[in-house]
Symmetry: C2
Amino acid sequence: MSKKILIIVGSEFEDIEVLYPYYRLIEEGYEVTIAAPEDGRITGKHGYSVDAIAFNKVRPEEYVGLVIPGGRGPERIRASAREAAVKIVRHFIETGKPIAAICHGPQLLISAGAVKGLKLTSYPGIADDMIVAGGVWLDQPVVVDKNIVTARVPADIPMWMREFVKLLKKI
Amino acid sequence: MSKKILIIVGSEFEDIEVLYPYYRLIEEGYEVTIAAPEDGRITGKHGYSVDAIAFNKVRPEEYVGLVIPGGRGPERIRASAREAAVKIVRHFIETGKPIAAICHGPQLLISAGAVKGLKLTSYPGIADDMIVAGGVWLDQPVVVDKNIVTARVPADIPMWMREFVKLLKKI
């Protein structure tokens, strides 16, 4: 049986930050599930739609890794399904399973209380928030600190996924 | 020095069919160049823009592989830069270097006279054209025939790129 990976999205996600890891992890042999505040189709900033299951139906213990894409999704999640999303993210923090977050994705690491003392990067416009939350913010394409792989923008995707796949293969 | 891969696009390309191979092949360590009828930024159906060099500046002998994405790009290329594009595609046909084409991308294989006797797939709506051109059209996610890897739609991307990367690693 394939190992399972979870991607969590909110509406107006950055399409390529969802589609790239989705197809890339299938290419690598994983089964990939997308979760969102509600069941059904959900659409990104560029008009791509994906099927998602609701956060409250997710059993995080079934998954070996978590992807948190950017765009407006993370703030939308905070607005409508914060508690359910934080519960999911906390599971991966507490078990040390690999997490990949990019762009605005690290906002959910703040919501989950996971940034204090963490070396990370993010979309530069939210660097101050990461620093105020106690993170060590680095302006580089990808940062790996223990189980957490972060990147800044879509151009960093190749380096971001290369490091995430490496982490997944260690488990 | 990195080996180089060429992606050829026309306007209103299917964004994910350009962005996925672009990032994926960088992830794999290749240097990736995008070429189009003219120099400059070019935009896909979903609004993603990429930098391209003009077909007539491409030296195909510098590249180890060719990617032909779909969307409306291939028909646009036929309308405005057919001769230059065919010259590029013919180079890869004649040298047997790996070619990956998806969706409407195989239209340019027809223009290059490369479909006769070829086992391939494509967007189902152009299957008849492939058959009339002498191709053996198969309704499956990916078809590999010698140096040519074809796929139907974005959902086939993981299988398409998995086979293309395998072919590239053999050279």
